[in-house]
């Protein structure tokens, strides 16, 4: 009988809930039923985003759009109707009618993916201003608004989410106290030893932890100013974040008359108590269990989708709970339960590594991997498949050395998108993929946080016999590409080159890649990285260009190449006073003072009183201009004004390689804009924007990206391209190589198509990066190290000294300070 029912094709399905679960359901349904009409109802104002990465909204101030699971085009391409900001108010399970406030629509099936909501503990005063939940982007915005450096924050809840919130607050400079009801942190995932080690890491970050503290009241007359505990103690704070857990959102299901316990009760097809109604994710209760983590969602979605599409039978038989996460800077994987059975552990307190495997009757029941999570894919697969374990200790040891080849097909490689090794392997075989980019694009593995990309790359190499395209290693010593290292930075929230070195070893062996990593760290952190000068080339330590004799050249910023008599006079005075050996015009319309000693730099900058021209850096160098319509009788538009504006907008922003730009006021192109990285040329009726030009070691005519009518559009597009290059160019890849590698069509798609929102986001990230830039020459007054501009036996000429000549002392800073050259200092007598 059921056979006949299932042959009837369904025409439509409504998925209620725009979270990770809702997204997983529509993706699985679309795969199995190409023609089914699918409508996704999102109560939030956003299309589905990755809530697991919510903390990034606080920590990195990212817009919600950065966490989007799929761009708008994807929904259009897959013919999925998405309504946002629309709450489903009622569901009639008989007629399968979905009611919103102003509409009612019938469907062939309904799938609930309503997720869960943050629990509000019954604490007196918890509704006071200054108490925030941690669940939605709006919560993050409110928290961000209060999280000033030095502010005292109390986080109620020492579970996974609470600790994530605490870490984000620490990164913003708040003084954080975590208040937890239980006797140890994350008691659902960690045993006592692991929890104690986690506690240590938190204390290293200056986070206070109060365990076994029951909060009974939020104090404060109007707004929250502290907490009172059951034992009578209290804690003063400026604001409070509550994260004590979640509770399934099942009110809609209850009102619809569906059987509910803790969640919506479902069978192995994820079907609820009414026919054609399904539930997936945190709102669903299967076999008595409600999962509050992402991993089970993908299996559940497959089962539900098969039933919805009336395809083959797929049964969901439960999941072993597992979570891969990073708490307080510590990598952690928790699988199943480690409280039962016989356990083996490996502990190295010095490096903060704790690995534990629990086995019962020869079968794995759980594992905790902390500090070193290698091999977790293998262990999870053993847990899932119920493989017999003969020697638990050997299994634990072998897991940390597991290579891609040893992973079974069922091992989950990408946790963000639930992609298994087998999915990747078959995609590579069936579609003949040869590059990481293709694999990511096709399988989605590595499209989330990117931390699994090294493994994806390994799998690709295995399949293709080591022939992998695009292996431009940023760190050849460790065979790590730019993408690999970017993944490491994103996953670990690394803010410095040394953190990257600690995580993956990049830069330690030969050091050549350190400037590239320094650039990557700064770019990904929107220039809010931790600067380490040792990772920079000498030019970027002293902000001047080293010459063949070890002296430096000084090129002050002259916006658009337009100067004034007074400025020229000042430059001339400085050149004379410091006996600068050569004064020369550069190819980019600037003035170069050559042959300056390191020690003279601060004083020369001070007397010039001009910002750095960045002629020494992989950065936006110059915007060359012709006189344009201001004076030139052929000029169509004002090249000088645009050049100066662009140079102000781009000043000081670092790039994968140097960027030279130019603006020409008419097609005669006197500023040679057609052979610049970015060139703008005024033409009748508008502006031509060219990119990827070069006239150095390589000569290439820049491609016309677009011709637009207004100056504003031209400038906006030029900036959008600059940021696109900043984010996607390989280190030391000029724009001409970049545009050829990526292809002009792809560049256009990303830079010009405003409907995707990406150009807007590129500009927003550019704005953030630009806002964090200061003039490096100001370090003349506040050097990053007392010896930034001097050697052991020399002193830098003080910046800001009165403008008097040095007389016959040609190099004022050559007198030995530490050691007398002719008479060795007697041993044991320290010299100042």
């Amino acid at each position: 009988m059921s056979q006949t029912i299932r042959t009837r094709k369904r025409s439509s399905v409504a998925v209620i809930g725009g979270g990770i679960a809702g997204q997983a359901v529509i993706e699985a349904v679309r795969e199995q039923a190409p023609d089914l009409s699918i409508k996704l109802f999102c109560a939030e104002d956003h299309a589905p985003y990755d809530r697991v990465r919510l903390t990034e909204l606080i920590e990195h101030g990212r817009p919600v759009d950065d966490l989007r699971l799929r761009p708008d085009e994807w929904y259009a391409d897959h013919k999925i109707e998405v309504v946002t900001g629309t709450r489903v108010s009622r569901l009639d399970t008989r007629s399968l009618t979905v009611y919103t406030n102003d509409d009612a629509q019938r469907f062939g099936a309904v799938c609930l993916a309503t997720g869960s909501e943050a629990m509000v503990p019954p604490i007196e005063g918890a509704d006071k201003p200054g108490v925030f939940l941690y669940r939605y982007p709006g919560d993050c915005e409110q928290i961000l608004g209060n999280a000033r450096p030095g502010a005292r924050a109390a986080v109620i809840g020492g579970g996974l989410l609470g600790l994530e919130a605490a870490k984000a607050l620490v990164s913003l400079g708040c003084r954080v106290t975590v208040v937890h009801l239980m006797d140890r942190l994350m008691e659902r995932q960690l045993d006592a030893t692991a929890a104690a080690m986690l506690l240590n890491s938190m204390q290293d970050l200056s986070v206070e932890v109060l365990t076994e503290h029951a909060t009974v009241e939020v104090t404060g007359e109007h707004t929250a100013d502290g907490l009172r505990f059951a034992d009578g103690d209290s804690l003063a704070c400026d604001f409070i974040v509550v994260s004590v857990g979640v509770t399934p959102r099942i009110d809609l299901a209850k009102r619809a008359g569906l059987t509910c316990e803790r969640g919506v009760v479902v069978d192995d097809r994820m079907q609820a108590s009414a026919p054609d109604v399904f539930a997936v994710g945190e709102c669903a209760q299967h076999d008595g269990i409600v999962h509050g983590i992402v991993a089970p969602i993908y299996d559940q979605a497959q089962a539900a989708a098969a039933a919805i599409a009336r395809a083959k039978d797929v049964f969901y038989t439960g999941s072993i709970p597992s979570a891969k996460l990073k708490v307080m800077g510590v990598d952690l994987v928790a699988i199943g339960n480690v409280e039962n059975g016989e356990t083996v552990t490996f502990t190295d307190p010095a490096t903060g590594v704790y690995r534990k495997l629990a086995v019962s009757e020869g079968q794995m029941v759980g594992a905790v991997l902390m500090g070193d999570t290698r091999g977790h894919e293998l262990l999870l697969d053993i847990a899932k498949t119920g493989k017999l374990i003969e020697d638990p200790l050997a299994t634990l040891a072998r897991a940390s050395e597991a290579t891609a080849a040893e992973l079974p097909d069922g091992a989950q490689v990408c946790n963000c998108n639930g992609v298994c090794k087998g999915d990747i392997v078959s995609a590579i075989r069936e579609r003949g993929l040869t590059s990481i980019q293709e694999v990511v694009a096709v399988t989605r593995a590595g499209a989330g946080c990117g931390s699994c990309k090294p493994l994806v790359s390994e799998i690709l190499k295995l399949e293709t016999g080591d022939v992998v395209d695009e292996q431009a290693y940023l760190c050849p010593c460790k065979s790590l590409t730019r993408d690999d290292i970017a993944g490491v930075i994103r996953e670990h929230g690394a803010k410095s080159v040394s953190e990257v070195a600690t995580r993956c070893g990049a830069g330690r062996e030969c050091g050549a890649c350190k400037p590239g990593i320094a650039y990557l760290v700064s770019e990904i952190n929107d220039n809010k990285h931790r600067e380490e000068r040792g990772a920079r080339f000498i030019n970027d330590r002293v902000h001047a260009n080293i010459q063949k004799d070890g002296t430096f050249s000084v090129v002050p910023r002259i916006y658009g190449g337009v100067t004034s008599p007074a400025e020229l006079r000042r430059i001339a005075d400085v050149a004379e006073r410091y006996e600068v050996p050569m004064v020369k015009f550069t190819g980019g319309q600037r003035i170069d003072l050559l042959g300056v000693s390191k020690e003279q730099l601060p004083a020369i900058w001070e007397e010039l009183g001009m910002p750095s021209g960045h002629a020494y850096a992989k950065a936006v160098r110059t915007v060359k201009t012709c006189v344009g319509s201001r004076f030139c009788r052929f000029g169509i538009d004002d090249a000088i004004e645009m050049g100066i504006e662009l140079e102000h907008e781009w000043e000081g922003v670092y790039t994968p390689h140097k960027v030279k730009a130019a603006v020409s006021g008419c097609p005669r192109n006197c500023a040679e804009a057609s052979t610049k990285d970015i060139g703008l040329i005024a033409v009748e009726g508008g502006w031509q924007v060219r990119v990827g030009g070069a006239a150095g070691a390589s000569v290439r005519e820049g491609d016309v990206l677009v011709t637009v009518e207004t100056k504003g559009d031209a400038m906006r597009i030029a900036t959008t391209f600059l940021q696109y290059y900043r984010e996607h160019g390989e280190y030391l890849e000029r724009t001409y190589g970049f545009v050829e590698r990526v292809g002009l069509d792809v560049v256009r798609e990303n830079v010009l198509d405003e409907s995707t929102g990406e150009p807007q986001r590129l500009r927003e990230r550019f704005r953030l990066a630009r806002a964090a830039v200061t003039d490096p020459w100001l370090e003349r007054r506040e050097p990053v190290h007392p010896k930034q501009f001097s050697e052991i036996d020399s002193e830098a000429a003080p910046a800001g000294r009165p403008a008097v000549a040095f007389g016959s002392e040609s190099t004022p800073a050559q007198s030995p300070v530490a050691v007398n050259d002719s008479e060795p200092t007697p041993a044991g007598t320290p010299v100042a």
């Binding site: 330690r508 350190k514 530490a818 200092t825 007598t829």
Partner: protein, 118 residues
Amino acid sequence: MNPTATSPASRSGLIALCEAADVPFGEGRSVTLHGRRIAIFNTAAGFFAIDNDCPHQGGPLSDGLLADACVTCPLHGRRVDLRSGRVQGHDESVRTYELYLLEGSLWLNFDAMEPLAA
């Protein structure tokens, strides 16, 4: 092995160079002793002292990019091993010196360099 020993057998022949803190971590600085320009490096593997002039074209090695135990010349990228003074891929080397860290100060073994002073 970490070349920055903390307890030399004797202090005779040692020249006090500077406070350890005068050489920023991950960077090098130079000093002139007996007419020789010597580079002092502060790396993750300890402090090192070698001749400052790159054998290739005299580039200032103290301005080079450091890894754990090698430096890359800022002019043309010659890579010098800080332990042996050997230039990678070339039949060249630079002189290395014994360096000691004592109570926060750096000391160079003067006796060890004497034969070369010229």
